[in-house]
């Protein structure tokens, strides 16, 4: 293991997606090779994340200064436990999405899979977001992720997709402007863009007003990116138009990484307690409105999109509660939600490809007779997301409830419990509909492949195994989250002085 030091792993986590992007685009027309390359890239990223977890058992943070430039001129990459968690979970979601997309059947017209070539750029953006410690560098990685996701969203090219993509582009560019204005103000005031350096300069409390002012802009930006109230309406408009594997990828990756960036900025550039209150209300309203809108949806994809938007509210509540237990709960919920939402969406994709449209107004899905195994997978995925014991959602929400109760935040407690109940109820309604009997079933799939295949089974098995692993090793995972939260709040050794390679 001495060959792969922490610093080399950090460098690799950028190099591998870059090389993977080049390779993927070189082979973009050879479907089978493309799929292998993308799956390999995602697999290697997962391995790198695991390697970093092992490396972080000795040190608290791995710091890399790009080009060995000293602060405040250089850009630092910091791998701490929280960042590696985000990276690991993101890589897992990408691996599952890459495995799920089938190789196209050469005989049929449908089912091209060259959009897989856009997954390595997403992996690059994910590495950047998880590991960067420079304000402007974060913006760059946000845009890398964004550019990849624009193309993926518009992939099928029909009018619905194009409209959704333009809408997604506009709102995200608008939000990015807010972030850049915040960066401009911070640079004008402090003269540095490095997060550790900024945190040190802000700690004396003299620039409280500037920080609060900047956080006004940052809240708008993150509100759009994380799909918080009142900026979450873009999610159910844009996401359901994509292919199901793309929707699963987005749901598990983009908002979660954006939330991780918010977490990063929140602990390094802590605003005044007013913003904690704002975040609390925003989180509670997100959960409430998201779940209410989800309960009114009759179609499964939009329902899951609204549910996803609502669930991000839990993360915001956890941040608002702050201090070690709140942040640990938010990290655990991050990991849980990424995996659980991806599982649910891929299970829905499987059911759609079996001809079960999952529309509460339409006919039943006939899955109870035809393929009960898919029904079981959907059931497990739903319960996992909704938070029934002993699955991951339960542990995460329990942690969140504990933080809420400790602070006597009855709004938080009420909103979490109520939304979980509603989520379970509507998911059960969909499950029953899927199981209901029907005479003729017409399979349709936007990937061109019907039913279970090796790749699909592998990806769902991987995700379910990950959930099971989190549950079985819940103590270890939660302990890891607590250590990560502690490191996040102190970031030792990351002052304005140069730390070097």
């Amino acid at each position: 293991m001495t060959l792969l030091t922490g610093e080399r792993l950090v460098g690799l986590s950028f190099a591998v997606p870059l090389i993977g992007t080049v390779a993927a685009f070189a082979f973009v027309h050879k479907a089978a090779a493309l799929r292998s390359i993308v799956v390999l890239v995602a697999l290697v990223q997962c391995a790198i994340a695991v390697g970093m977890v092992l490396a972080l058992e000795e040190v608290e943070t791995i710091v890399l200064s790009a080009g060995d430039w000293p602060i405040p001129m250089g850009i630092r990459l910091v791998a701490d436990k929280a960042g590696v968690l985000a990276l690991a979970v993101g890589s897992l979601v990408m691996l599952a999405a890459a495995l799920y997309t089938p190789s196209p059947d050469p005989a049929s017209r449908r089912g091209r899979n060259d959009h897989l070539a856009l997954i390595p750029p997403l992996a690059l953006g994910a590495s950047g977001l998880a590991l960067s410690a420079d304000l402007f560098n974060l913006y760059v990685w946000f845009e890398v992720l964004l550019a990849g996701s624009f193309a993926l969203l518009a992939y099928r090219g029909g009018p619905k997709q194009l409209r959704a993509s333009l809408f997604y582009v506009s709102i995200n560019l608008f939000a990015s402007s807010f972030y850049l204005i915040a960066v401009a103000i911070l640079y004008a005031r402090f003269g540095t863009l490095d997060l550790g350096h900024l945190s040190e300069m802000m700690s004396d409390g003299r620039s409280r007003q500037t920080v609060d002012y900047v956080w006004g802009f940052l809240l708008v930006f993150f509100g759009v990116k994380v799909a918080a109230f009142p900026f979450f309406a873009w999610l159910p408009r844009a996401y359901p138009t994509a292919t199901i594997s793309v929707m699963a990828l987005f749901s598990g990756l983009l908002t979660k990484l954006a939330f991780f960036a918010l977490l990063r900025l929140w602990v390094t550039m802590t605003p005044s307690p007013l913003f904690g209150h704002i975040l609390l209300w925003v989180g509670a309203l997100t959960v409430f409105c998201g779940t209410a809108a989800a309960a009114m949806e009759r179609r499964s994809r939009r329902f899951v999109a609204w549910l996803l938007a609502g669930e991000m509210g839990y993360l915001l509540l956890a941040i608002a509660y702050g201090s070690n237990d709140g942040l640990a709960a938010s990290l655990f919920l991050l990991a849980h939600m990424a995996v659980a939402v991806t599982t649910l969406l891929l299970a829905i994709g499987l059911m759609e490809s079996r001809g079960c449209p999952l529309d509460l107004d339409g006919g039943g899905g006939n899955l109870w007779r035809e393929s009960p195994s898919i029904l079981v997978v959907f059931g497990v995925a739903s319960l996992g997301l909704a938070g029934l014991p002993p699955l991951t959602g339960f542990i995460g929400k329990l942690a969140l409830l504990r933080s809420a109760l400790e602070r006597e935040s009855w709004i938080g407690v009420g909103v979490v419990l109520l939304s979980s109940l509603v989520a379970i109820a509507v998911l059960a309604a969909f499950w029953l509909k899927a199981a209901a009997a029907r005479e003729s079933v017409s399979p349709s799939s936007d990937d061109g492949k019907v039913g279970l295949s090796l790749g699909r089974a592998a990806s769902l098995a991987l995700l379910l195994a990950a959930q099971a692993a989190i549950v079985i090793k819940a103590n270890w995972v939660y302990g890891y989250c607590e250590q990560a939260a502690a490191t996040l709040m102190s970031w030792p050794g990351l002052s304005g002085r140069d730390v070097g390679g």
Partner: protein
């Protein structure tokens, strides 16, 4: 004084961009995106300070303090990066717009 002018200019660009972004015609939406990125670039430009008196070139043997004794080069790097990124995304948005209006017959984004 000139900083105020620039700030107002950035605000005008921003307002223009936001207004156009909400329009129903796709052409105006794209122009709104352009105006938005212009406003942001002006704001980033401002962050380096507008003294007009600091030299961008460092004489031999002089220790320079960016932003104090000499002009600050970093905001220009930030602006360049922002321009490149927004240019690429804008190019993509225009391609989508072309495809939407010509092939798919989409003209009104609110439908």
């Amino acid at each position: 004084m000139s900083e105020t002018v620039y700030a107002v200019m950035a605000g005008v660009y921003f307002g223009m961009g936001a207004y156009l972004l909400m329009s129903r015609s796709l052409t105006r939406l794209v122009i709104g995106l352009i105006a938005l990125s212009h406003g942001v670039n002006v704001a980033l430009f401002l962050s380096g300070g507008l003294s007009g008196k600091r030299s961008p070139f460092v004489e031999k043997g002089v220790v320079a303090e960016a932003g104090q004794t000499h002009a600050d080069p970093l905001p220009q790097a930030l602006i360049l990066t922002a321009i490149v990124i927004s240019f690429a995304l804008l190019a993509f948005a225009i391609v989508i717009y072309r495809r939407a209006t010509e092939n798919a017959g989409v003209e009104d984004i609110s439908k």
